[in-house]
C-alpha cells in the first residue's frame, strides 16, 4: 500500500466548530469470500480497525468488516476546540498499519 491515505479537512476552524473529516485509503479489502480462476479461496485481508486521535487522545474509532467496500472511504465529525493535531491509523489483518496525520488550526 504505497499510496498515501487521502484526508480532506478544513485547514482551520472556529473554536467549537464541528468539522467534517473525510478519509480514503487504498486497500483491496479482500473479503475472503472470493475465489481465484483455479477455484481456490482468496484469503481474507482487510483493514479491520480505524482510529483517529486528536492531540493524542482517541476520539473516534471504527471496527471494519469484510463487507466494507474496497478502498475504504469514511467520513465523520469532530468538534474542534483548539488547534488540533490529528493522527489517523488503519490496522491491517496482517498487523501492519497505514498512518497519516494532519492539523486543524484555530486562530
Amino acid at each position: 500500500m504505497s499510496e498515501k491515505p487521502r484526508i480532506k479537512i478544513p485547514s482551520s476552524a472556529k473554536k467549537g466548530e464541528v468539522v467534517e473529516i473525510k478519509t480514503m485509503v487504498t486497500h483491496p479489502m479482500e473479503s475472503g469470500q472470493r475465489k481465484d480462476a483455479a477455484g481456490a479461496v482468496i484469503p481474507r485481508k482487510i483493514l479491520n480497525k480505524f482510529t483517529c486521535k486528536a492531540n493524542g487522545a482517541e476520539v473516534f474509532a471504527a471496527d471494519l468488516f469484510p463487507s466494507f467496500a474496497a478502498n475504504p472511504y469514511l467520513t465523520f465529525k469532530l468538534r474542534i476546540e483548539a488547534t488540533t493535531k490529528l493522527e489517523f491509523a488503519w490496522i491491517d489483518d496482517d498487523g501492519s498499519a497505514i498512518t497519516a496525520d494532519a492539523e486543524i488550526k484555530v486562530a
Binding site: V18, S31, Q33, R34, K35, A54, A57, E58, V59, F60, A61, A62, D63, L64, F65, P66, S67, F68, A69, A70, P72, Y73, L74, T75, F76, K77, L78, R79
Partner: protein, 154 residues
C-alpha cells in the same frame, strides 16, 4: 470507548449464523447470514433494552447498480455531551456473509454522530443501523436496497 457487549457473545452469534447456513446447505462453501441471525444479533446489541425507533437518519440508495460499493450515511440525533452521547453505531446487512459491516465508536469530542461509508451488499436486502446511547438506550433504523449486481463473491 468501552464496548457494551462482550465480543464473545457477538462471536457466538456469528458462529451460530455460520453453522445454521452450513446446516441448511445454503450456498455450499459460503456462510451466509440470515435475517434470523441478524435479528438475534440486533437483540444482543440492544442489551436487554427495547429498541426504539427514531433519532437515526439512515441514508441509502433505493437501487444500487453495483453491490461492491454502496454509499451509506448515518446520522444519529444526539447532543454529544459527556452525559448524553452516542457510544456506538452498528451498520448491519442481513444477507451478507457476515452481517456486520462496521462498528463506529464515538466520543463526545465528535460533536455530531454522523458517518458516511461505502459498503458491499451481496444481494437485495435490508440494511440496519443500531445506535447504542451512553444512557443504555438503543435505537434502530432500517432500509431496503435493491442490488442489481452483488458485491461479495465472484
Amino acid at each position: 470507548m468501552s464496548e457494551i457487549q462482550p465480543r464473545a457473545s457477538r462471536r457466538a452469534v456469528l458462529c451460530a449464523a455460520g453453522a445454521l447456513a452450513a446446516g441448511a446447505g445454503l450456498l455450499p462453501g459460503v456462510a451466509t447470514a440470515t435475517p434470523e441471525a441478524t435479528r438475534k444479533l440486533i437483540g444482543d446489541l440492544a442489551g436487554g433494552a427495547t429498541l426504539k425507533e427514531g433519532r437515526i437518519k439512515l441514508d441509502l440508495p433505493q437501487v444500487a447498480d453495483n453491490g461492491a460499493t454502496v454509499p451509506v450515511s448515518v446520522k444519529v440525533d444526539s447532543p454529544m455531551t459527556a452525559q448524553d452521547h452516542v457510544r456506538a453505531l452498528y451498520v448491519l446487512a442481513e444477507h451478507n456473509p457476515v452481517p456486520e459491516t462496521a462498528i463506529f465508536r464515538f466520543t463526545p469530542a465528535c460533536g455530531e454522530a454522523e458517518v458516511s461509508l461505502r459498503m458491499r451488499l451481496a444481494k437485495t436486502q435490508t440494511v440496519y443501523a443500531v445506535a447504542q446511547m451512553s444512557d443504555g438506550t438503543a435505537y434502530l433504523a432500517k432500509g431496503e436496497v435493491k442490488v442489481t449486481v452483488g458485491g461479495c463473491g465472484t
